[in-house]
Subunit: 242 residues, 2 copies
């Protein structure tokens, strides 16, 4: 049997209320990357000012003991991916991020690195959305039009990052997050959606997936009622579908 | 000089907190349609259950004195548009709505009816988004992939319906609505975005546009600070660009 060389750390949100950038998940990042990885390739495409974004990420990763190379600093982004020891895709606008991944020919390059070479992948927020099968469950505004909503497909389901419970006191009449996800599941053949509340992370190692962090997650399966899941729970069954 | 035969009533939200369906804007609808219109063609594509949606809309419009024909009841949707005395496109998911408009060949048909025949158009929420130049500023989740984000273009700018002010007490770290719109304006050549809070409507008659309703609107122009506008204000300048 072939072993799946897949190492993913999929973070709901880069910043938790009251904390600094990646502060709430820094131990998880260190444990995940370990001591073999020295350099991390950062993909800042989700924000407009890529250099400013790289500066923020570099500051944090250097503090954690890693050198950060930001992909826009390389003349050849595909080559940068091919040489990467680890990849980190940060949050921002998911449509902008996915379009830039397509525009730069990075979808097949990153998939190959993760699945064939076993290079660790960290995604946060939009970087988590693009790691999944598609960006159909992003919360972001469609400020640009990517050629497809299909994404890296590193896992065969969807994630909704920054998952938000209904506020019973709100007078706002826009759809709740749960209503939006259930509208997605009205469409045929739509995969599971894992709602990762802020403070949650999903760790995927080969064919095993585990919920990490400090908040519960809410899982939506087409045709079923949503279910609540505690940190530490095994989500490997989500990797086995199709 | 050619007169623009354009009559639009663009509503932020179908239901205001504590009120019934279209209750907060029923007088505006009656004034807008007047007594010459007897039948309204309803487009329920933004929700999955079109028949249930048509029933809700029919109930309301009959109370207001109009007969409602729902487009999915017609064997030929383009023909239904061509025969329409007035068109009402309801809210729901904007991506689903726009995709169905394209799939049924209704984009050119509705444009022609509004611009050449002067047929009154009412949009609410997603129905307001698709009336504008594009759906780039929808709040909805991209549950399906339309062939383009370009929409009916009945006005040459964008609207953000259900516009929501930042909640200073929120601990949620997702982007505020204002941040999302400013990310849109980081992209080149992006048109103005009119943020219509719940309770707002924009009336467009030919080359005149007026804010109606009970709440202020927030206007975003690329490269400028946002501005606040009172009900009754003239927005005709938004119709004159490009
Ligand atoms: Ca985002
Ligand atoms: Ca909606």
């Amino acid at each position: 049997m072939m072993t799946i060389k897949r190492h993913l750390l999929l973070i709901s949100n880069s910043t938790l209320h009251g904390g600094g950038y990646l502060e709430h998940c820094k131990e998880h990042i260190q444990t995940f990357l370990g001591s073999k990885v020295k350099r991390v390739l950062f993909v800042p495409y989700a924000l407009h000012d890529r250099d400013a974004y790289a500066k923020t990420a570099r500051h944090k990763f250097e503090k954690l003991g890693y050198t950060l190379d930001s992909i826009q600093e390389s003349p050849d982004p595909v080559d940068a991916v091919q040489k990467a020891e680890a990849i980190f895709i940060g949050g921002g606008n998911t449509f902008r991020l996915l379009k830039a991944l397509y525009d730069n020919g990075l979808i097949p390059a990153i998939k190959k690195k993760v699945f064939e070479d076993g290079v660790p992948y960290i995604g946060s927020s939009a970087g988590t959305n693009v790691a999944t099968i598609s960006i159909n469950t992003t919360n972001d505004m469609p400020i640009v039009f990517p050629p497809s909503l299909q994404a890296l497909g590193l896992v065969p389901f969807n994630i909704n990052p920054h998952f938000l419970d209904q506020d019973a006191n709100s007078k706002h009449m826009g759809e709740t997050r749960e209503q939006r996800i259930s509208q997605y599941h009205e469409e045929p053949n739509t995969p599971p959606v894992l709602g990762l509340r802020e403070g949650s992370l999903l760790l995927v190692e080969g064919d095993r997936a585990t919920l990490l962090g400090i908040t519960r997650a809410r899982l939506f399966l087409r045709g079923h009622s949503p279910t609540e899941h505690e940190p530490g729970e095994d989500f490997s069954f989500l990797l086995n579908q199709i």
